[in-house]
């Protein structure tokens, strides 16, 4: 029911809280991308989040890669730059990745590679992880990748080929260069007071205190490696929630729950009534059988007396009658 409403690719219509998560990751690497000879965005999608996150000026040379041609075209339009290459291909395919590596040999250095929310969409992510590691080792590329924390999503994502959580991320880290750094993306909830009517655009500052003694569960886990990871900037952002949409979704869920509980209650009552009726019928049936047997015995006795009187023989007691219940 809800799975049908999943929209995995980020578009302008994506919920603001989802969009801001994507934008923030690109904002974190904006400086790294801009100060690189080439920025490569693997699994670029529609480019909406990248355009907003990277901002202006754009990196001098951009390489976009995605398996969806339409999304790739949209990203190329949004990130229109003097030197932009859009490449359509499957990031799980070793042959494609070899060709991509050959293509990148001609790209100006230094390289910055992002692969946000890509790994979980691949049937086989091992070739991509090896490709990223090779780029770091052979081309001194700085790489940033992210995976979602599926374990904390209440619903199964039908688009994810593999499931990710803290443990799976740990498994992945064993296959990354040992100097990699880990970044957790945390969800922050907040509130704002805004005088009405609001006549102009307002920029609100975000103040949030994160206590190291508290285990803040990440929504996404990022890993970065390469010589220029220090250019990745810490980021935080907040966005007003679409309370109307959120209320619709939450109320639908609540309504479904209430409906299911009431249905269960009604079925329970019906079941109890049926059980009671069944017991009454069973008792009535037992009484009817008893009455039948009594009558049968009376008839048998009557028959016996009649035949004895007709024969003039000695009276014998009737035989025991077996009845089945």
């Amino acid at each position: 029911m809800v799975a049908g409403e999943w929209q995995e690719r980020v578009t302008r219509e994506s919920p603001p809280n989802v969009l801001i998560e994507h934008v923030l990751r690109y904002r974190a690497i904006a400086k790294l991308a801009r100060e690189s000879g080439t920025w490569i965005d693997l699994g670029c999608g529609s480019g909406v989040a990248a355009r907003e996150g990277i901002g202006d000026p754009l990196p001098p040379e951009i390489v976009l890669v995605d398996s969806d041609r339409e999304a790739l075209r949209s990203a190329a339009e949004l990130l229109g730059s003097t030197k932009l290459t859009a490449i359509n291909g499957d990031l799980a395919d070793r042959t494609f990745l070899s060709k991509l590596a050959e293509r990148l040999e001609r790209s100006p250095l230094p390289l910055a590679i992002s692969a946000f929310e890509v790994v979980e969409h691949l049937e086989d992510f091992v070739p991509l992880v090896e490709f990223l590691r090779d780029q770091r080792e052979q081309r001194e590329a700085t790489v940033v990748l992210s995976v979602p924390n599926d374990a904390f999503w209440p619903l199964d994502n039908p688009f994810h080929k593999t499931l990710w959580g803290a443990s799976a991320f740990e498994e992945l880290r064993h296959n990354l260069p040992p100097d990699h750094v880990v970044i957790h993306q945390l969800q922050i909830s907040g509130s704002a007071l805004v005088a009405q009517p609001q006549l102009r655009r307002i920029e609100l500052e975000l103040h949030a205190r994160l206590d190291p003694s508290v285990n803040h569960v990440p929504t996404h886990m990022l890993a970065a490696f390469g010589p220029r990871t220090d250019l990745i900037e810490p980021q935080s952002a907040a966005t007003p929630l679409d309370l109307i949409e959120q209320r619709r979704w939450e109320n639908e869920r609540e309504a479904n729950l209430i409906y299911a509980e009431n249905l269960a209650l009604a079925r329970g009552k019906l079941l109890a009534e049926t059980e009671r009726s069944y017991q009454e019928l069973r008792a009535a049936f037992a009484r009817a059988v008893e009455e039948r047997d009594r009558l049968y015995r009376l008839v048998s006795e009557g028959d016996h007396r009649t035949s004895t009187a007709a024969d003039g023989s000695e009276e014998q007691p009737p035989e025991e009658t077996a009845t089945s219940h």
């Binding site: 086989d124 091992v126 064993h174 296959n175």
Partner: protein, 421 residues
């Protein structure tokens, strides 16, 4: 990539199943040749558990010794002894548990198993706690974490099936004759419940468990994986009171089928069990506590549903075998990228030494056990004598200084007399 996994045999067991699941998937990869190398002599019984291993090669140790592999992987401490008989560029050790703990302190296997962790190999392990321990023990050795997958086509729960009233359906699983599985303890704890319940014990030896069971209990087994999954689905809670576990798979399988767990805080439980969220973690040696936890679940069906639902959600985030084998593939590829070491000779010598000293140790332990038995033969009559009036009198006199001095003089005189004679 030519990879050899060394196994003792191919008899049905949890550890071998894990190796076989990985091998089957790795062997389907383009450019991979995966072999299962049998460290022991082949036996017809070996093939019962895994009839269809294609495209995995199954070869014996001698055949494997004539070949060369990119990576050779030991899968159990005893197989480490055969590992260095294979020619390979890299050697790895797939550690599924700290196997020395399977043996009691006076068993020779304990030291021999522990020593294999000193071998010059790269480690692959299934559990975070083992990874942390290996890192502490062997900071020099590469270590990769590859969690076990779950067969999501077998261990499934289309929907939570739960009786809102009636008996709590309790399941105990494990080999009753393996001391660290705690099966008799679990049965005793369940039988201590005051609320209505039905107990099913899944074990390889149902007849051994039958005498322990009450009127609402039954023992079944051995079961196939599909039968085991169906059994999990028709129960509310699994009770496991293990003392030693590696990755602790049974509760995870139960979670996939919608059952919660009452468990001891055994190693591996904290990989996915959260007390009060998807299961209940009880103290060690606390059968009454286990029984009370089960009584609580029997009385409070809303809480039971909460735990079972969260167990299902936990299961949903656990990797399938397909995903697990991707990490195994990644780990093996990472090991293959490491500089080739000349660990074959070192390993061979080290393993020969370990084998020799383990054999000596085993002899010493056997001798010690024999001495212990002989000593106990004398201990018994002495203990009986001490309980007689004469024995008690002798014990009292032995405490007196004058008596001890006199006895000493008598003994010295006796010795002198013996010498003169």
């Amino acid at each position: 990539m030519r990879v050899a996994f060394v196994v003792n045999d191919l008899q049905l067991s949890g550890g071998i199943t894990v190796v076989v699941e990985h091998c089957r998937r790795l062997a389907r990869l383009s450019g991979w040749e995966v072999s299962l190398v049998l460290a022991r002599e082949r036996d017809d019984r070996d093939w019962l558990g895994y009839p269809d291993l294609e495209p995995v090669r199954v070869i014996d140790r001698n055949q494997a010794a004539a070949e060369r592999f990119d990576i050779a992987v030991a899968t159990w401490w005893e197989t480490a002894y055969a590992l260095f008989q294979l020619e390979a560029d890299h050697y790895a050790y797939f550690v599924q548990s700290l196997e020395d703990r399977f043996y009691l302190s006076d068993q020779a296997g304990r030291k021999a198993a522990a020593l294999t962790l000193d071998l010059p190999v790269a480690f692959i392990t299934e559990a975070t706690w083992i990874r942390d321990l290996l890192r502490a023990l062997r900071p020099d050795a590469p270590c990769f974490l590859v969690r076990n997958g779950i067969d999501k086509s077998v261990f499934t729960a289309p929907q939570l099936q739960q009786a809102m009233t009636g008996h709590l359906r309790v399941l105990v699983e494990g080999s009753a004759d393996v001391w660290f599985k705690g099966v008799p303890e679990a049965v005793a704890a369940v039988e201590g419940m005051t609320e209505r319940h039905e107990l099913t014990v899944v074990t390889n030896e149902p007849a051994d468990v039958a005498p322990l069971l009450g009127p609402h209990s039954r023992a079944v087994g051995p079961l196939s994986q599909a039968e085991l999954a169906a059994t999990y689905r028709s129960h509310d809670v699994l009770v496991k009171l293990s003392r030693v576990e590696g990755v602790y798979s049974p509760p995870l399988e139960a979670f996939h089928c919608g059952a919660t767990v009452v468990t001891t805080p055994v190693t591996g439980h904290d990989e996915y069990i959260i007390h009060g969220y998807n299961g209940l973690v009880c103290e060690w040696d606390d059968p009454r506590g286990v029984a009370r936890a089960l009584d609580l679940l029997a009385r409070n069906r809303r809480y039971l549903t909460y735990l079972r639902y969260n167990a299902l959600r936990t299961a949903a985030a656990w990797p399938s075998w397909e995903q697990a084998s991707l990490f195994m593939q990644a780990a093996l590829r990472s090991i293959a990228r490491l500089p080739a070491t000349n660990s074959s000779l070192t390993g061979k010598r080290l393993i020969e030494d370990i084998r020799m000293y383990a054999a000596i140790d085993a002899e010493h332990l056997l001798e010690r056990a024999a001495f212990h038995r002989r000593a106990m033969r004398y201990e018994q009559p002495i203990s009986e004598l001490r309980q007689t009036p004469i024995g008690e009198l002798a014990a009292r006199l032995a405490h007196k200084q004058s008596v001890r001095k006199a006895a000493k003089r008598v003994l010295q005189a006796a010795r002198r007399f013996g010498t003169k004679k």
